[in-house]
């Protein structure tokens, strides 16, 4: 089962002291040598922005790339709710160990213990760092930081900045990044998309990028490559991700030899605005902090679904989360809340257009605290809801439905955040390591900043100390070869001149993935998808229409390249889902459930990380990293 490639390099010793020991044992690069190492950071979100800024502060020569027009626009910016940290400022019994345990349990025991402990351990420093960079977190009248409890947690450990926490954290990292750009320590390349990874003698030594303004393709060589390129939720077309989010950087790395871990672990967020029509381009998330004060319900009787909610009597309402999970109630973890909503709608008790929605009702909270308090807490979310739906949620319940939000899967990394390809490091949502099969609310921001500010600056030198800096130049044959392949692909996409638009393929793939590899999957459906995706891909490559030219700003071409990769990657997701014959976290296989419909995990056979190796012209090969729990006892999650 264990493959030599998949050594997690987890340090020995007690859990509580692994990271401190590791940092002490780490190799250091002398200050005068740091500038000789060039680090390529792809992505400028929380992970990439924080890593680029911190590594530049330390003296490395950093180049940072993003596809947006400014580093400040990375999709981390859209996170609303908050960031967890084990500060225990509320004195409510929180601790590093509790945050660690909640995260492991929330991830349904499919994350690597030592990585998660480290995440919890550095969480406090993140808050200190953010406050020092001027992040205006919410505060109490006494001037101390405010906290709230957040999806799946029984302590108040979430720090927040209104409903715009991701924005404020990202702008904090961005301000540190621009400072380094101004100092000349980081060279920033906005509107630049990574299209390939370059591997020289088994080490990641650079990337091939396309300048999205001029369309020119060129290479950048470096001593290490950091992929901080986020998740792949847009494989579903409709998701809460930004339109530009894509799998290309990590998928290209996979095709160059990096293992892709747990691709089928995707998170469906329970509180999004329901789909309104087939023209729709994205789904909008309403922060799940709303679940602190909102009560989720559907009518008990199908015939009530079409009635205005105010006309449905209290006793005819099914507050199903409170009923099924009395101790957590409306704060049940995301996977459980999402699946419960789906079950209610599948049962014919959904509300709103198409019956794909449930109510999130603030009437009780407004009665208890008054409208001004609710406005203070969630005003911008209520405004956004009204703008999109035309409905006033102070007067009538919101309608919500689950939507694809986050991807726990990603490139496989060891304790150093290095993939199996030496030199290739993967941070934030782009890696797989910390959230297992399901991510707890307010933990994505924590992981992005942990990886960028506090982990990679300590782990990267261990790799750099083993390589001589500046040995590979962008005119090496490996770069020329990769550039030629990128150019050929562009030429091909532009020359097909078929009949279907890129988006039409993307929408079709997305629907297929949602139906067959979404909130609930089964063997028959996954096999169907595995048959259909290659057909769709073949049609794409013979019948897609991509207008315009390569050497100009060409948004259709950008989309085409990303969708081409999604059309391959979707197959890997389905294959992974098919192979994992258990239900865990965001992965619910309908064949594997308890008599009362809860997920049935199989720890005897599936307590491992699935790491997929690309094989040219053949089936991907599955490598397994066994998940060894030295500290926590695997238990069935119960939120009842």
């Amino acid at each position: 089962m264990h493959t030599p490639h998949l050594d997690s390099k987890t340090p020995a010793g007690p859990l509580e002291s692994k990271w401190q020991r590791y940092c002490f044992d780490s190799k250091l690069i002398a200050p005068h040598n740091k500038r000789k190492y060039k680090i390529l950071v792809v992505g400028s979100g929380l992970a990439g922005g924080a890593a680029a800024a911190t590594l530049a502060e330390q003296g490395y020569a950093v180049e940072c790339f993003c596809y947006q027009d400014s580093a400040r626009r990375a999709h981390s910016i859209a996170a609303q709710g908050g960031i967890n940290a084990a500060k225990n400022y509320q004195g409510d019994g929180d601790s590093v160990y509790r945050l660690f345990f909640d995260t492991i349990k929330g991830g349904d025991f499919r994350a690597r213990e030592a990585n998660v402990y480290r995440l919890a351990e550095v969480s406090s420093a993140i808050i200190d760092q953010c406050v020092a960079t001027g992040v205006p977190f919410a505060r109490e009248y006494g001037g101390l930081l405010a906290n709230r409890s957040f999806g799946g947690s029984q302590v108040s450990r979430t720090f927040y900045a209104r409903g715009q926490t991701g924005q404020q954290l990202l702008l904090g990292a961005y301000s540190s990044l621009v400072r380094q750009i101004g100092l000349g320590a980081v060279k920033m390349f906005p509107r630049t998309e990574m299209l390939d990874l370059v591997v020289v003698d088994g080490h990641a030594k650079g990337i091939v990028v396309r300048d999205m303004v001029s369309g020119k393709v060129r290479s950048h060589a470096g001593d290490a490559v950091l992929l901080c390129t986020g998740g792949y939720g847009n494989v579903f077309f409709l998701s809460t991700n930004a339109k530009g989010c894509n799998v290309t950087a990590t998928y290209r790395a996979y095709k160059r030899g990096a293992y892709f871990a747990n691709p089928c672990f995707t998170q469906i967020h329970p509180t999004c605005i329901p789909v309104a029509g087939d023209y729709q381009s994205k789904l909008t998330l309403m922060s799940e902090s709303l679940r602190n004060d909102g009560r989720v319900w559907v009518p008990k009787k199908k015939e009530d679904c079409a009635k205005p909610p105010a006309q449905i009597a209290e006793e005819d309402r099914d507050y199903y989360l409170e009923r099924k999970y009395p101790s957590y109630g409306n704060l049940a973890p995301r996977d459980i809340s999402s699946r419960s909503a789906k079950e209610a709608c599948d049962d014919g008790r959904g509300v709103g257009p198409g019956g794909l929605g449930v109510y999130l009702d603030f009437a009780d909270a407004i009665k208890r605290f008054g409208e001004p308090v609710i406005k203070e807490r969630y005003g911008n979310l209520f405004d956004m809801y009204e703008r999109i739906t035309g409905e006033n949620a102070y007067k009538q319940p919101m309608r919500i439905y689950p939507a694809v939000h986050y991807t726990m899967g990603g490139l496989w990394v060891d304790y150093n955040l290095m993939s199996n390809l030496p030199g290739l490091h993967v941070l934030g949502e782009a890696n797989f390591s910390d959230h297992g099969a399901n991510r707890l609310g307010a933990s994505a921001l924590m992981q992005g900043l942990a990886d960028g500010y506090f982990v990679i600056p300590h782990t990267l030198p261990n790799y750099l100390a083993t390589v001589k800096p500046g040995t590979v130049k962008p005119d090496a044959p490996e770069f020329k070869q990769a550039e030629a392949e990128v150019n050929e692909r562009t030429r091909k996409l532009l020359s097909i001149k078929g009949k279907r638009t890129v988006d039409s393929f993307h929408r079709e793939l997305g629907l297929l993935m949602w139906d067959k590899c979404g909130m609930a999957r089964n063997e028959a459906g996954l096999k169907e998808a595995l048959k259909r995706i290659p057909e769709l891909r073949a049609e794409f490559w013979s019948n897609v229409f991509v207008p315009g030219e390569g050497e100009e700003l060409n948004q259709s071409l950008e989309k085409a390249g990303r969708v081409a990769d999604f059309l391959e990657f979707g197959e890997l997701m389905c294959l992974d889902a098919l192979t994992r014959k258990e239900s865990c976290g965001g992965h619910f296989r309908t064949e594997h459930q308890t008599p009362d419909g809860e997920a049935l995990r199989d720890d005897d056979n599936y307590a491992f990380v699935s790491a997929w190796e690309y094989v040219q012209g053949g089936e991907p090969v599955l490598h397994k990293e066994p998940l060894v729990y030295e500290n926590v006892k695997l238990a069935t999650r119960s939120y009842k």
């Binding site: 911190t54 502060e57 027009d69 999709h75 400022y89 808050i127 001037g143 750009i181 729709q280 700003l553």
Partner: protein, 258 residues
């Protein structure tokens, strides 16, 4: 599913490249669901253009939930369009437009925002202003405990009001002088309201204003168009704050140094 649809004539600025001449081109937008956003309406028009083998209209967008600041557009003469409530173009919904009307769609126009193609402009000038001083110089790992410096709720909220700026540049596009003072004022005010921002307060404002001038942005002459279009509801008070901080810093730099 919702069935009410609308029809429009779009008069869109098309420009092949930075140096090419641009012009307005008319496109019909038919059967647009009234619940579609403005950008979804453009998606529908673009799908039709592509289906006819024509080049789609290039426009910037990303998060489509009003926070990333990537989308721009001047719609019927208004930056981010006739929203009524403060919001970005991506949060503008077609139900706000009259069925059958003609809609003008233009890029953000300002000398420091050169056009790249169609409706896509360069806003790197805003990044450069922030590079000049829009930060707190704090080395990662050197911070004290987050609760070591209490901040009054009033100041924290005031800082947050200013920090909400999404950097879209609508303030510049709306200003007859193409002034970026709402943007710069927001950043200066955000840091100036916090204890962490004090050590570099004077240097920051001088550096950011210096860069703003260098980029060719104009001065504020109190039209308040910026506040009217700002999707993040930044108030012109931040410009007053900016002016005051700038004057004090200027005085200090001439006397005790900053």
């Amino acid at each position: 599913m919702h069935r009410k649809t609308m029809n429009f004539t779009l008069r869109v600025w098309r420009q092949k490249s930075a140096n090419a001449a641009g012009r307005f081109v008319d496109y019909p937008a038919r059967n647009i669901p009234d619940e579609a956003s403005f950008l979804e309406m453009l998606d529908i028009v673009n799908e039709e253009l592509e289906a006819r083998g024509e080049e789609p209209i290039a426009f910037d967008h990303d998060c489509r939930e009003g926070i990333c600041g990537m989308c721009s557009l001047v719609i019927n003469g208004l930056a981010h369009g006739p929203n009524g409530s403060h919001a970005t173009t991506c949060q503008l919904y077609m139900r706000l437009f009259d069925d059958g009307s003609t809609i003008y769609v233009e890029p953000f126009r300002a000398t420091p925002f050169p056009i790249i193609k169609d409706l896509v402009v360069h806003r790197a000038a805003l990044d450069r202003i922030q590079q000049a001083g829009g930060f707190i110089s704090n080395r990662t790992g050197s911070a004290v405990d987050a609760n070591a410096n209490p901040v009054s709720k009033r100041d924290a909220d005031g800082a947050m009001d200013a920090a909400a700026c999404i950097g879209c540049g609508a303030c510049v596009a709306a200003c007859p002088n193409a002034s970026a003072m709402l943007f710069v004022g927001a950043k200066v005010t955000h840091f100036a309201r916090l204890p962490q921002g004090q050590p570099e307060r004077d240097r920051r404002v001088l550096a950011m204003v210096g860069q703003m001038d260098k980029e060719g942005f104009g001065n504020c002459s109190n039209h308040y168009e910026c506040e009217a279009v700002c999707p993040a509801e930044i108030k012109v008070d931040v410009i007053a704050h900016l002016n005051r901080d700038f004057d004090i810093a200027k005085l200090k730099s001439a006397t005790v140094g900053v």
